[in-house]
Amino acid sequence: MSQTIIDVNDLKAYYNIRTGGNTTVSVKAVDNVSFQINKGEIIGIIGESGCGKSTLTKTIYGSIYSPLTVVGGSVVYNIDSKKIDILKLGRSALNRIWWEIISYIPQGSMSILNPTIRIRDQFLDVINAHDKSIGKKEAKEMILKHIDRVGLPSEVATSFPHQLSGGMKQRVVIALATILGSKILLADEPTTALDVVVQRGILQLLSKIREELKCTILVITHDMGVHAQICDRVAIMYAGKMVEIGPVGEIYKEPLHPYTRFLIQSLPKIGDKSRKISVSGRPPSLQDPPQGCRFHPRCAFAKDICKNFDPNIVTINPHHWAACHLLEAK
């Protein structure tokens, strides 16, 4: 029986931006999203740029800075039978949770490594910031063991970031994120800008971490191949809404939502020279999303009802649902 480790309910997170003068513009990055993350799974979120997936992740993490505001809903962690309402916590409580229970690896995080400090010292900084009782010698041992566990050569500890390649740096960042035994990892585009071979290494690393450290991992990427390789479940987001979620096998074999179907069909494959078409048009502005179903302007199957009413969630089986009017008919 899979246990829910994070419960997101009716979450609404908007960016309220003051554009000079007295006008405020509301960018509805996350608009009424609900889903659960199960313990020990790798779940992926797919979506185009600007669909709100990074904002969703930041909100789940609790990193909410103006102009981002949570307008409604809740995010509750379920750790060791304790419920933690992340949105209600203050800065010091969040600091205790961050990196010890949940870690967030933002996009382009290879650049967060301080170029003037050796890798080992960056680990020491993190450890000291959280637990001053660990002695230096003990910490160093801990670091070396951990580095070895994630498959990095031991020379990495004494290197500077610029001596490492992009892929290596990304692995270091993942190691940093898990050094304090964090059980939940939120990885935003962990393999973008890395080439295929390195990407495979990183994805393998994430799988390994899930197995050996018993972590739960949320991976955000717009690359469908990545999801197919490591995720157990996949969620698809579009224009601030979650439009489909389900086990990876079902999503790829029988995608329900037209957007998901389009995403899968547009992928080029070796051995297949047939013409592929990408989704036409561009994603809608989150300030002023289309009426009704947000995908309807680009959907080949849009009906009248799609233009006026927001689709309801249609549950196909307990693990797989999609929000689309076309499914309600069945």
Partner: protein, 327 residues
């Protein structure tokens, strides 16, 4: 066949000095590369490899943005490093780039139509303002945009996909014969890539243009290419017909690249763990085959001596692979 080839890369090598004057080392980014694109056939030639394979440096040398340390790059028989004045202008019209990051390709403080008008007018291609306007509109139409989409806008007002299309449209205005596209879709969302790739594919037939497509993504390379050159640490390790090479690869490195493609099919997951490459610069220093340290079939001689070339005849097309396994 008496006409000189459109592009000839002759034994080109490029060495970078990294580090300071005293303690620096030399990095051979491109080593003894030979490529030819004939004038009559418009083809798409892909340069594929990981980052650090030298494909981007080679692309820059072909565009004339970087000078080879040795070897020559000939456009229609003329050495491009010796081109000056009108001849150089002609070269820049006929060989155009499309860069990876569309937001870097345009000056963020300038409106994008400046470059469109510039390309039409600066080379004397347009006889009047109206003529320039027409040329621009035609170009934009090819990439699926209209002048209104583009007029008076700054780069940040576009999405990545749109801006890349504008980039391509700009390159088309001077009716180039060779387009050098350096990872044109790697910064664009996977779902929108095919739109741009299809544009490039259609250019080949519509405009009688050849394209050098630099990428690390083999899926799009398969979709679009006629010929493919697989590069590893500066050397071409396998070359030939794209379809053949990607479906029946010979070189172990090509096999690795294909294996590492994340297939969007959960039933076909990776089974083995691959070996990580160590500190990169060490791989460059190997005197023999640069892939030997990671190769599952490597023998002693692979590390010490440069692998010999095996040529494979397949009708008119040439194919070769540099590997001890085949000799």
């Amino acid at each position: 066949m008496n006409r000189p080839p459109l592009l000839e890369v002759k034994d080109v090598t490029r060495v970078f000095k990294i580090g300071g004057l005293v303690f620096g080392t030399r990095l051979t980014a491109v080593e003894n590369v030979n490529l030819t694109i004939e004038k009559e056939r418009s083809i798409v030639l892909s340069l594929v490899g990981e980052s650090g394979s030298g494909k981007t440096s080679l692309g820059r040398m072909i565009l004339g943005l970087l000078k080879p340390t040795s070897g020559q790059i000939l456009y229609e028989g003329h050495d491009i490093s010796k081109m000056k004045g009108k001849h150089l202008d002609f070269f820049k019209q006929k060989v155009q780039p499309v860069f990876q990051n569309p937001f870097e390709a345009f000056n963020p403080l300038k409106k994008v139509d400046r470059y469109l008008h510039g390309t039409a007018i600066n080379y004397g291609l347009a006889k009047s303002r109206d003529h320039a306007q027409k040329m621009i509109e035609e170009s934009l139409y090819t990439v699926g945009l209209t002048y209104d989409n583009v007029a008076g806008k700054f780069p940040h007002e576009f999405s990545g996909g749109e801006l890349q299309r504008v980039s391509i449209a700009r390159a088309l205005i001077s009716t180039p014969q060779l387009l050098v596209a350096d990872e044109p879709v790697s910064m664009i969302d996977a779902s929108l890539r095919m739109g741009i790739i299809n544009i490039l594919l259609d250019l080949k037939s519509k405009y009688d243009m050849s394209i050098i497509y630099i990428t690390h993504d083999l899926d799009t390379a398969y979709y679009i290419s006629d010929e493919i050159a697989v590069m590893n640490r500066g050397r071409i390790v396998e070359y030939g017909d794209a379809q053949k090479i990607l479906t029946e690869p010979l070189h172990p490195y090509t096999c690795l690249l294909l294996e590492c493609l994340p297939e969007p099919d959960p039933e076909k997951r990776w089974r083995e763990r691959i070996k990580f490459s160590g500190i990169e610069t060490k791989e460059f220093e190997v005197p023999g085959c640069k892939f030997a340290r990671r190769c599952p079939h490597a023998k002693d001689e692979c590390l010490k001596t440069r692998p010999p070339r095996k040529e494979i005849k397949e009708g008119l097309k040439s194919r070769y692979v540099d590997c001890f396994m085949y000799t």
